[in-house]
Symmetry: C2
């Protein structure tokens, strides 16, 4: 398994430049690096100085680069969908629909990117994957797919089972599945089999995301107030998907001003101003990226104290909402929702109180 590194920050703060410098630095140290850009325009290739393609290209010792293209990725994914259909369906319906004609909806690209990263990750060919994505909430939502998909699965499965709709449909499952599928399913195991593979993938994704040895983000900012505000916002928002943030890279011309206090306890590394192709200076200024110190845990649950502590830097109390409409606790912050299932014996316990203290939301149940 590789480690995925990504950079979060405002557009124009120098994320792509930092990503490239990081790739050059690590590959120079003998680490096998794949640099992945989600920008399909020629802009990334221009900064890198190489014409990229939809498949990884070797561009230096231990260094590969790829420019993700949703139209390319959907063709491969569609073949897999067809194979899955052919495996389960008595008479496949999708064989006359071609991956080459499928257009891309918002979100399909993002899901395809995550799948591509997953495949590069399990290929065993790379030690580090540097993902230069949109660097904003879209990247966080992408990394949050496994967590959120699991939630939708378990929530709507339960709703469906308990509903009159599910009960009314139940007698039809057996005859329909006998007529359509290679296997005959009863209501209880209907969709169990094909989703099992998916569930296991989601569990792997969830485990990877919360382990900084597997997925780690850095914030990139300039000295501009709006760039700093956005980096702080993304720091808090990253916690909402369980993503560890390892530090701050400050594109400030060597000056770190009072950034250290604004991002404590993270380490702030100021970069010197460089011009053109002076990658060496940037590479030397970058911190060691793979094993940062002082990363607060996104969430800790103390069963005996009946307390949940959620790290939410960059937000104040007004920007965080706590609700318990469904069976889980929902934390809303950074335009994201995180649903938390409490471990036994706290499962299903109502929230008794919550306070916001030193960047932590402390919930008592």
């Amino acid at each position: 398994m590789a480690q995925v590194l990504t950079f979060l920050g405002k557009g124009g703060s120098g994320r792509s430049t930092v990503a490239i410098a990081a790739a050059k630095k690590l590959s120079g140290e003998g680490v096998r690096v794949l640099l992945v850009s989600s920008d399909p325009s020629p802009a990334f290739g221009l900064i890198l100085g190489v014409n990229l393609e939809g498949d990884p290209l070797n561009i230096g010792a231990n260094l590969w680069a790829v420019q993700l293209q949703a139209t390319h990725l959907i063709e491969k994914a569609w073949e897999e969908v067809k194979q899955l259909e052919a495996k389960y369906l008595r008479s496949p319906t999708l064989k006359n629909v071609y991956g080459q004609e499928l257009s891309i909806f918002p979100g399909m690209d993002t899901a395809l990117y995550l799948n591509a990263i997953r495949e590069y990750n399990t290929s065993g060919q790379y030690d580090v994957i540097i993902y230069d994505g949109s660097g904003d909430l879209t990247t966080l939502r992408m990394l949050g797919i496994p967590e959120n998909a699991s939630w939708y699965f378990r929530r709507f499965r339960q709703v469906f089972r308990e509903s009159d709709f599910g009960k009314a449909l139940s007698p039809f499952v057996q005859p329909v599945s006998a007529a359509l599928f290679n296997v005959s399913w009863s209501f209880d195991d209907f969709a169990e089999q094909p989703t099992q593979e998916v569930t296991s993938l989601l569990d792997q994704g969830k485990a990877a995301l919360t382990d900084p040895k597997q997925v780690l983000a850095y914030l990139v900012t300039t000295e501009q107030a709006s760039a700093i505000a956005q980096a702080q916002y993304l720091w808090g928002s990253a916690q909402q998907v369980g993503l560890s943030v390892g530090g701050v890279i400050a594109n400030t011309g060597g000056n770190s001003g009072d950034l250290a206090s604004q991002f404590a306890p993270l380490t702030v590394t100021p970069l010197p101003r460089t011009t053109g192709d002076d990658w060496q200076t940037l590479m030397e200024a970058l911190p060691s990226l793979q094993n940062p110190a002082n990363i607060p845990q996104p969430i800790t649950i103390d069963v005996s104290a009946r307390q949940v502590r959620v790290f939410l830097p960059g937000f104040d109390k007004k920007q965080v909402k706590l609700t318990q409409y469904g069976p889980e606790i929902t934390i809303e912050a950074g335009d994201q929702r995180r649903n938390i299932t409490l471990p036994h014996p706290l499962t299903g316990c109502p929230v008794k109180g919550a306070k916001f203290q030193d960047s932590y939301l402390v919930i008592s149940v």
Copy 2:
């Protein structure tokens, strides 16, 4: 109906600043403007100098601003889904799932933003809606939703009807719908009724997008090579969703260099360098945005010459792919696919040849 204006360009090229200056300029001329930001972080509010909220806020004469929040929008949308379900379903299943607990997948946010813009548009309260979105492919994919959703509908509906799957399912539709729905549907009108409303919405969206009086984009670039490359790429990519591009705003400190030749026949407007809150200088430098001249049509079909001319600036022949796997012609460029149904009597005709000429893909059928 309002006119939707949006700005496309590389992150950091000054899109948000231009959007704000445009909003101030137009509202100053008596046009009722709603400024819409898709950035949920405090960054946009910092540049604007106002704390924004999830609902439009009056921030000056004829000027309103709103910061779209997917978590806020999904609550409203979910209530509508529930109402729709209650209308058609004998026994609703979703009543115990709350909008407040739903997490946001990639793409859901984008679809919710488009729906919000549509609602502001039809409210009659605004003459111009300035959308400051991600300004990249995500914005284009958002605007392409009506076109692509229509395509998926008609393609998969046909596949389903002709498939053994559809035929095998057919005998079950009547008893299932009798058991579950308020109305009893036969196979042919199954799902016809609920989708009719959607189809009409999609048609409205498609019509709006291809009419520059209703939706219009401007490119924003600096003098950086990567920013220019991205603007050119987005110019071509905009054509792929049928979006008209009205001109180029150059954040180059008054200089437009050879941008005019790189973006001909568009008008390039250079902006002076400003500092801090000098909005007046920017407002004066901006062109009149609502009725630009010299906009090439994204697509023209000449039935008698059996010719389709597709405007694709910023791409060369290698970057454009033409296929005809399915029943329509598929044009792939800018990591997007566009499926074109030819009008009668060219419908279903095979492609005889294609050439790339002066930024136009000329297809003979």
